[in-house]
Symmetry: C2
Subunit: 460 residues, 2 copies
């Protein structure tokens, strides 16, 4: 480890990008040859496309010539070659250290297999990533991701452990208890999903605790799109009195801490010498899009030997810039983080809109609580949206002191304000319906924000 | 690491006990001096008893002169010196790697603080212990302990990781899913509480899966008294088609894998060069009892720097023998494991009886399911027991084919058989009431087997 403050590995993190690109290309060529020679899954895929590893002589070749891998292909391959697929990796069983799996909530689960070498490398990457976000050995790090089949929390834990921070891995514990123990132990750091962090603010408010007066000084939030939305982050940052850092990848791409927001507000830095990350045309994965243009994300493991992903297509939308920002690292960035799932893109009255853009507007509006839903319906020929949002506990208390007429007036004013904020952010007029706090189910893991009634309409 | 099959650390595990005793005494003297010089909790305790570390020149001095520490004392000290007590250890915060806590279900929770050095040492001890019980790098190890505040599962995981086995830490996942994934991934090893392992047999039976035909070949069961009861183990062993190894200690005594059953049926080997273990008079912790006599357990950390326990009194009953058994290790053993909590001892018609002795009888009886309860009441001047036990699903199916008269007769016969088995084991006549399967709440973590109605009787 070459570590000079403020870097975990100064040489690696500040390398000239041109030099880094040479390493990346070399590793890509290595992984392509490994996949083709040793992993039947890739051999079949590449043969079907008439692709050979030696076709790749430049990074541009890689983007334009190599077919992508989708989640569906992995599920199908694991069904044919259980349990880990024919991309399991050229690793004997006794060198495998971990098994995890996807929750399977969105279909058939897939299983992950990690070799000891890959595991150790991931710990090092995790340490580099959390260290960049400001975690130090004297931090007390409370982790609110569940520790079970789902991979997320385990990767967070191992990075923090490697730094030498004090780890307090609570997992999926009851919310009030999370808050109580946080104060009792003096946790200086907290990590969980975006929606769970938002939820804890609501719970704290309900039990009369002000999180912004609490010990947590830093949040790393992940596993959902939208963490980089500035207004959402400002809300979280205010609610917790803490710096908020976005992190987002996907279980297939373990070590998933390769995308981390180092300077809050600048979006995620991409450690692309660990997982090479491309942004391509959402309709053609072999067409790159220029820096600064929104497209589809494609990820490649440069070092993994167990279940390496070569051009994995997670179905996420993002935008990359060349400018490394002010962190001192020389990597590219995703300044708006992950924008959402490609499938989540809504087309309303001819306008493309991601739910995250609507959230961005909502989070700027006054008097709004943590929970909201975007309802998509098709009453006639065209999609229509309705945004249902809870008001905050604070606003509810204020309203209770008003006369009925004054209350109605105040609500009308807030509704108009929210609609205007959304219109500015999303370039779309979306009617807003305000609800009492506690009306919607509370989110404790990942939020379900979009309710799609269009299918139902077709059936009826 | 000095490792020659079948030992993880052959030199350590086969050392001459006389030589080992010298190391133990030296470490005890070290820990006493450390406690007295650096940890206010011990300084106050020892001063109050007029004890000085240099009073201990032999192991016998240690037992007869050093006061014990109880859970109540730790709770009180943590209240006065939050959060970790004045026995937290002479370890700066940046060297602390983990925080865990007790569940607090039986009162105020206590918090555990582990230094990096202690953590690494515990991984090594865990590896030695699981290796002795037969775990090897090619095993797939599914862990069914929860991963949260509770310490248990984390210690299991780290020992298995150190061996280099494949870890599949599922934690508190739904039971049917545990069984499904076990078969899908081919888990060769499973670890959870005794009652959860029993519960899974019942669940498997209900969903039509025969666990004994499944991939699991070895169970390490722990965190509850009674795992060493031969009849219970035979049931588990038959139900799972697996070797069953008992392991039992307490969170205060992390690394808790110091008690492990190496040869099934021989009881637990005590790695007393890590945690020195004494059996003393249940009414006087400074009076040793001879090998082969039941008494109270007292534990001492020989190596821990963070929160070291010196003569900790967990309130458990056990019996130790000098004879190391057939495992090749030269350590003493607890041939019947942990017999139960000292508080659990029942006095019925002048006879002392541990609930585990009653369970031992019950587990030998025919047609009995996993769940049972011992109800203690005091209808008059004396305590009375009633044992309520579910019949097995298999028996229920058999009974369904019989006429009413034949069914009644069969049940009467099984009831008499169970009562006779218990009488032989516990030297006590206990009436048995048989219940339909599924009548009692299913046990998924630790079982509550004794229902005490005596307090209620006094109030009424």
């Amino acid at each position: 480890m070459l570590s000079t403050e403020p870097y975990w590995d100064a040489e690696r993190e500040t390398l000239d990008p041109k030099q880094r690109e040479r390493v990346i290309l070399e590793r890509i060529q290595h992984q392509l040859a490994y996949g083709y020679d040793k992993l039947p899954f890739y051999r079949r895929l590449y043969d079907a496309h008439g692709f050979k590893p030696d076709h790749v002589r430049t990074l541009d070749d890689f983007t334009t010539k190599v077919p992508v891998v989708t989640k569906k292909m992995l599920v199908a391959d694991q069904e044919l070659h259980p349990p880990f697929g024919s991309y399991a990796g050229d690793v004997p069983d006794e060198q495998v250290t971990r098994i995890h799996g996807s929750s399977g909530t969105s279909g058939t689960p897939t299983f992950y297999r990690v070799s000891k070498r890959d595991w150790d490398r991931a710990a090092e990457l995790g340490a580099m990533s959390f260290f960049a976000a400001g975690v130090r050995p004297d931090d007390i790090c409370q982790i609110g991701f569940p520790f079970s089949l789902f991979f997320g929390g385990w990767g967070v834990l191992q990075g923090l452990e490697r730094i030498g921070a004090t780890c307090f891995p609570l997992g999926a514990l009851e919310s009030e208890r999370q808050i109580e123990l946080m104060h009792r132990l003096g946790s200086s750091f907290f990590s969980a999903t975006v929606s769970y962090c938002q939820h804890l603010v609501t719970v704290a408010e309900r039990v009369g605790v002000d999180l912004s007066e609490g010990p947590v000084k830093r949040l790393v939030i992940g596993a959902e799109a939208g963490a980089s939305i500035l207004a959402s982050k400002r809300r979280l940052s205010d609610g917790w009195g803490a710096d908020v850092h976005d992190a987002a990848s996907t279980s297939e791409m373990y070590p998933f801490m390769t995308n981390i927001e180092i300077v809050p507000g600048e979006g995620m830095t991409v450690f692309n010498d660990e997982v090479f990350t491309e942004i391509v045309d959402r309709n053609d994965p072999n067409v790159p899009v220029p820096y600064g243009t929104t497209g589809a994300v494609v990820y490649t493991h440069l070092w993994r030997e167990s279940q390496p992903m070569i051009r994995f297509w997670p179905g996420d939308a993002s935008m990359m810039v060349d400018d490394p920002g002010t962190s001192g690292r020389t990597y590219p960035r995703l300044p708006q983080g992950i924008l959402g799932r490609l499938d989540d893109m809504l087309v309303v009255r001819g306008v493309n809109v991601y739910p995250t853009a609507i959230e961005a507007g909502l989070r700027e509006a006054e008097g709004i609580g943590a929970e909201y839903q975007i309802v998509v319906s098709r009453p006639g020929d065209m999609d229509e949206l309705l945004l249902r949002a809870e008001i905050s506990h604070e606003l509810a208390r204020e309203l209770a002191t008003l006369s009925e007429a004054a209350r109605a007036e105040r609500l009308q004013e807030l509704k108009a304000n929210a609609e205007e904020r959304i219109r500015r952010r999303a370039q779309l007029r979306v009617p807003v319906e305000l609800l009492e706090p506690g009306t919607m189910p509370e989110t404790v893991f990942k939020a379900k924000r979009v309710v799609d009634l269009r299918q139902e309409a077709v059936v009826a």
